[in-house]
């Protein structure tokens, strides 16, 4: 654990100084500031923010994570020639990438909220959005590391990263709609819940929508969702699923990393 801490501190040092993270923080600050200032309704500002978070965070995390890992290849090689075990190095690099990026988002998002977002009214919505954003960062960095460890070719790896984002952020919803259309005669509510749990972006979105009571707009399915995701056990299960989405790609990539040739 001591080794992990050492690597982590240096990685955080390196990432924080990167222009990417500063730009990213500034982006969320600007978006939050714009939405809270120019939209009259705080709730509407929240929904717009949620949409941005759910699209931008996965995209930036998966691309940033892949580029960072590919660019660190020689450094990883150099570190592995030192007396350090692969597990500690991998965990150090993973946390050293995910923590500064999450912190960048949290900072950029929190400042306009605290200044203009009527803290008293929507504190639980703010915390939920913050949590979803941080979890999405960890999930997509873990996925990007999985891709980069398995695929040595940088351009193929980056292509795959964009493809995965595209599938989860855009194509998946189309598939869900198709399923609903073709199986409309069957009771699909439970299947929908399972399908949502299989996509971390959907999971984040639904969790947030439930909080804002927009589920009523989704008819009967919305009611089923409300019953499941709105209940405390539903929320716990959903967060559990999001954690599983971090753990599975992380442990898989850590395993591959242990056996990888550099």
């Amino acid at each position: 654990m001591k080794l992990v801490k050492k690597i982590l501190l240096y990685e955080i040092h390196n990432t924080i100084r990167s222009k990417w993270v500063i730009l990213y923080t500034f982006f969320f600050f600007l978006v939050g500031y714009g939405l809270f200032t120019f939209s009259g309704d705080v709730n509407k500002a929240y929904i717009s923010l949620m949409n941005i978070i759910i699209i931008v965070i996965p995209l930036v995390s998966i691309i940033f994570g892949s580029i960072y890992f590919y660019n660190s290849r020689e450094f990883i090689e150099m570190m592995l020639s030192q007396p350090i075990d692969r597990k500690s190095l991998f965990l150090g690099i993973f946390l050293g990438t995910a923590i500064p990026l999450s912190a960048g988002f949290a900072l950029g998002f929190s400042i306009p909220f605290l200044l203009f977002g009527k803290v008293g009214q929507q504190i639980d919505g703010f915390i939920l959005l913050l949590l979803i954003g941080v979890l999405q960062t960890f999930i997509f960095i873990a996925l990007s590391f999985l891709i980069s460890v398995k695929q040595d070719d940088k351009s193929k790896g980056l292509g795959l990263a964009i493809l995965i984002w595209l599938v989860l952020a855009v194509v998946y919803d189309g598939i869900v709609l198709l399923v609903i259309y073709y199986f409309q005669d069957y009771p699909l509510e439970n299947a929908m819940i399972i399908l949502s749990a299989l996509n971390p972006i959907d999971l984040g979105r639904i969790l947030f929508l439930m909080k804002f009571d927009i589920a009523a707009l989704m008819g009967y399915t919305g009611a089923v969702f409300q019953r499941f995701f709105g209940s405390s056990s539903g929320i716990i299960i959903s967060f559990g699923c999001l954690f599983v989405w971090i753990l599975i790609p992380f442990f898989l990539s850590s395993r591959f990393f242990k056996k990888k040739d550099f």
């Binding site: 240096y10 390196n14 990167s18 660190s72 450094f75 592995l80 020639s81 007396p83 550099f262």
Partner: protein, 256 residues
């Protein structure tokens, strides 16, 4: 002492090391030479644990290195390509490595001043040239007083002054009874620095012995010619030929 027994490494269908058996003696400079793709870097990386062998055993000071990482406290390594996190400085990397390594014996003052690195150590890596990064790799390899030093084409990116100082450094380490493993395409450098030569061709050791014995064996005065002859002897297309130098000219074995 480093012992390599029946080492095989395949990358998919590509057989890079084919049953390599090798003993690298303590206190000597051993040069691993061979054309590009002959398996030199893979052999070095397997000793370092960067590449996992398909089969075979590697021992450092009598202990198997499999699943161990602490043995690397004994090794200083200078890679072929030097790249570091671009926003960190040389000093930060050195202090990270210092905190990882067990040894408290660290002395970089002389190397830093001789390689004119002192002012460069405070700059982030993104502002440093390839050669300067290479010099920082040299500091990492030498400054920790490791008993085994592995250098993968160390002088490739260095200017003549640094390269000359670097060679002095290797000679000094040799006097200090360090075990040094070196790969290089520069045959005059190999001749100047090394005691033993391991000639690798297509993942197989074709020759191992002292520089002198190779020169005597091939009746040559220059190592470059002796190696070229070794290569043409082992080239199935050319058979035993004295005239064909397998495309080798100038000072480089395979960059031609």
């Amino acid at each position: 002492m480093i012992t390599v027994k029946n080492l095989v490494k395949n990358f998919g269908k590509n057989k890079v090391l084919k049953n390599v058996n090798l003993t690298i003696d303590e206190g000597k400079v051993t040069a691993i030479v061979g054309p590009n793709g002959s398996g030199k870097t893979t052999l070095i990386k397997t000793i370092l644990g960067l590449v996992r062998p398909t089969s075979g055993i590697i021992e450092v000071d009598g202990a198997q290195i499999k699943d161990d990482y602490l043995y690397r406290n004994k090794i200083g390594y200078m890679p072929q390509i030097a790249r570091y996190p671009e926003n960190l400085t040389g000093n930060e990397i050195i202090s990270l490595i210092k905190s990882i390594r067990e040894s408290n014996e660290y002395n970089d003052e002389e190397i830093l001043s001789s390689l004119k690195l002192i002012t460069e150590m405070e700059k982030p890596f993104k502002n440093l040239s390839g050669g300067t990064k290479q010099k920082i790799s040299a500091v990492i390899a030498f400054a920790f007083n490791a008993k085994i030093i592995i250098l993968d084409e160390p002088t490739a990116g260095l200017d003549p002054i640094s390269s000359s100082y670097f060679k002095d450094l290797v000679m000094k380490q040799k006097e200090g009874k360090k075990t040094i493993i070196l790969t290089s395409h520069l045959m005059n450098e190999v001749q100047e620095l090394s005691d033993e030569i391991v000639f690798l061709l297509e993942g197989d050791i074709k020759f191992k012995g002292t520089v002198q014995s190779l020169l005597e064996d091939k009746k040559e005065t220059k190592l470059e010619r002796a190696i070229a002859e070794l290569m043409s002897q082992n080239d199935p297309e050319k058979g035993v030929s004295h005239s064909g130098l397998s495309g080798i000219s100038g000072h480089s074995l395979s960059d031609s």
